[in-house]
């Protein structure tokens, strides 16, 4: 442990670098996960101005699909990972087509209630299919080296699993940015987010773009779910609820509608949570997200990067 001579000795154990760095790593790990879920929320809100309450459930389904593929079909981990992501993308699209599209022009209240209703429906559906007890992730499916420590420096442990999560998160974030900025689908998404009517007039098939957005959001959410399930080794049907709210808080923090904002918001929230749980009270760790959300909404509704979206429909 590097000694900082200008810090008084008794503080070393509590405020020592090793502890801080380890908590930081914990925070970045969970922050990356929140970021991946948060971009899903923010993209969907961007295109249809709906808080997709059921997004957390897609995250949960991702984890469960992966476990089912591994245990029932005997697929190797990486195959199950991508297959599960694909399934989540499909689920997202179905969610849109079945539940949200018919209400495209309805008042907000109706769509919000539908979203909550779908969230509850999916949670309980998962309970019926997989049981309500927490399930472990099948250990043997994970690559052997995940458990091993990859890097140690000054009392900080980084296992290969950590590196895997960081890696996937960063790759997906970069990939998403590329899709949004460089591909025509990305351009179409941005157009629909700005103004649906004008985008339609410009010849964009708005419905299809929205479905595409749901697919992307679903895939990312599913990936996040698998990683969480595998890393913390616990899957249960209501895991999407809390993670979903926190990721939404992250999206709000970053500015709802802004993808880079959601990414940053996720990381910031994750780190704040880990540091808060580690240094202050772990019992209020969930409260940190809620408090951040409320404060941000009241004081700076635009978040870090976003613009306050004008109320285009009636408030009801």
């Amino acid at each position: 442990m590097r000694r900082n001579s200008w810090v008084p000795a008794p503080f070393h154990t509590y405020f020592g670098w090793a502890l801080f760095l380890q908590q930081l790593i914990n925070g970045l790990t969970i922050g990356g996960i929140y970021a991946m879920i948060a971009v899903g929320y923010t993209m969907i809100y961007g295109v249809i101005q709906l808080i997709n309450f059921a997004h957390g459930e897609i995250y949960m389904l991702g984890a469960f699909f992966a476990v089912t593929f591994i245990t029932l079909l005997g697929l190797p981990f990486y195959v199950a990972f991508f297959l599960s992501m694909a399934c989540c993308a499909v689920c997202g699209v179905f969610l849109d087509i079945l539940a949200y599209r018919p209400l495209r022009k309805s008042p907000r209240l109706a769509a919000l209630i539908t979203a909550i209703g779908m969230s509850i429906f999916l949670q309980n559906l998962a309970m019926i299919i997989w049981g309500s007890r927490a399930k472990p992730f099948p250990h043997d499916a994970l690559p052997e080296y995940f458990e091993k420590t990859a890097v140690t420096f000054g009392g900080v442990h980084l296992s290969w699993f950590h590196l895997f999560i960081f890696g996937i998160t960063i790759i997906m974030m970069i990939g998403l940015n590329l899709i949004i900025k460089k591909t025509k689908w990305g351009k179409a998404m941005r157009a629909v987010a700005q103004n649906q009517t004008m985008a339609a007039l410009a010849g964009i098939n708005v419905n299809r773009v929205i479905s595409y957005t749901f697919a992307l959001a679903g895939a990312l959410g599913g990936a996040a779910g698998i990683m969480v399930g595998a890393y913390y080794n616990s899957l249960y049907p209501t895991m999407g609820y809390v993670a979903g709210v926190k990721a939404f808080a992250a999206a709000v923090l970053g500015g709802i509608g802004s993808v880079p904002g959601a990414m940053l918001g996720g990381v910031v929230l994750g780190v704040a949570e880990a540091l808060g749980a580690g240094y202050l009270s772990s019992l209020y760790r969930d409260g940190i997200s809620y408090a951040v959300m409320i404060i941000v909404i009241i004081l700076i509704p635009a978040g870090l990067f976003g613009k306050v979206l004008k109320e285009t429909k009636k408030s009801m």
Binding site: T13, Y14, G16, A18, L19, Q22, Q23, N26, G27, T29, I30, S132, R133, A134, P136, H139, E147, T149, H157, S159, F161, V228, Y232, N233, S234, Y236, T238, M239, E273, A274, L275, A277, G278, Y279, S282, L283, R285
Partner: protein, 382 residues
């Protein structure tokens, strides 16, 4: 339109009444006993254990002709190990006059929530697993249990298990924020001085937490030699796994809440080198206990655990008392209270059971450990 809706509403009320009437009806001539435990939800595996033990004894009793010629029927109440559900189950049992006694509840917080209802209704309750010491006071003479209390268990861990069996001195505690764990932690800390143990840190968590890494990181700073998993097995298993990921290599230990096959299933390799205290250990039990363990394995295909054993004995105790007093709530309570000395004690597979004025009993504790993915009697750590 309005009339249709009001008929719908009336119809629903009638349907509800009918359903309740139907489901609370009893078969005449049976003795009905309520059993309350979590049968669904995260702690359902505990409930499965209680069910197994009760069912095994039930079969024995009914095959032998029942109690004084009357067959015994069980009414299962799912309390989800939650105080609110426990209250609902308790009201149901109390309102059903054909239920003469209750075996339960499983979780201390559930028992604490239901006890006032049972006291008001005069329904004797015998718990196989609730270990919180305060239940004896709340029970006002209607509560009995055939397991030890956490007063005893915590001190036993602190003065015996950790210093002598594990040979460690510095302990970090992870406890759940509920009646059971807080009581257990307090008695452990109280006994720590006697055993020469230092508690290097304590972290609380709420049920269903899955990410313990920030708190573990904090606890590991003070370099504990062992971690006390003061809670139930789902979280215990996760703490075990995550602590290994953070590089902790020492032994882990817990109390009766950890003793469950799911701990090993969820924890995987990380569950190895975990010790826990239990009220019953087949390997250390007398000949009756060993016979029971064999029968259990044959009937359910898995090793017996302490909850099944205690539930089996609860059923046995009730059967013995009801045979003497008949199916009457007050008489059964008096009959249970009369088992108040070793001479009058019930000789079951878990040893000799007799109750003091608060319904508590004293039982010895045993220690088991996880080795190579299996529960085995504990050996001294090297």
């Amino acid at each position: 339109m309005k009339n249709r809706k009001s008929f719908l509403f009336l119809g629903l009320i009638l349907a509800v009444a009918l359903v309740f009437g139907v489901t609370t009806g009893a078969t005449a001539g049976t003795i009905r006993i309520g059993v309350a435990s979590p049968f669904t939800g995260d702690l359902a595996s505990y409930g499965d254990n209680v069910k197994a033990g009760v069912n095994l004894k039930l079969k024995e009793i009914n095959d032998a002709g029942g109690i004084n010629g009357q067959k015994v029927e069980i009414v299962w109440g799912d309390d989800l190990c939650a105080p609110k559900e426990a209250g609902t189950v308790g009201s149901k049992f109390a309102a059903d006059k054909t239920i003469v006694a209750v075996i339960g509840h499983l979780c201390s917080s559930a028992t604490l929530a239901a006890m006032p209802i049972y006291v008001r209704a005069g329904l004797p309750t015998l718990s196989p697993t609730s270990t919180n010491p305060t239940i004896g006071d709340v029970g006002k003479g209607w509560f009995f249990r055939n397991c030890y209390t956490d007063d005893f268990q915590g001190k036993y861990l602190a003065s015996n298990v950790v210093p002598k069996l594990l040979g460690k001195k510095k302990v970090a505690i992870f406890y759940e924020n509920n009646d059971y764990a807080i009581g257990l932690k307090n008695s452990f800390v109280a006994g720590a001085k006697e055993g020469g143990i230092t508690v290097t840190g304590a972290e609380a968590y709420v049920a269903k937490t899955t990410d313990f890494t920030p708190q573990l990181t904090k606890l590991l700073v003070n370099k504990p030699e062992t971690i006390f998993l003061c809670g139930y097995h789902p979280e215990g298993a996760l703490i075990a796994g995550q602590s290994r990921k953070l590089g902790f290599k020492g032994p882990l230990f817990g109390a009766d809440g950890i003793d469950n096959i799911d701990y090993i299933k969820i924890g995987g390799k990380a569950a190895n080198n975990t010790y826990c205290t239990v009220p019953f250990l087949a390997a250390s039990a007398g000949p009756a206990g060993k016979k029971f363990a064999a029968r259990f394995k044959k009937a359910f295909g898995r090793d017996v655990d302490w909850m099944s054993a205690n539930a089996y004995d609860c059923m046995g105790i009730l059967a013995q008392v009801i045979a003497k007093t008949g199916p009457d709530r007050k008489k059964i309570r008096d009959g249970l209270a009369a088992i108040n000395s070793p001479a009058k004690g019930y000789k079951g597979i878990t040893g000799l059971t007799y109750f003091d004025k608060k319904g508590n009993c004293s039982k010895p504790a045993f220690v088991k450990m996880v080795k190579n993915g299996k529960f085995v009697p504990a050996v001294k750590a090297k």
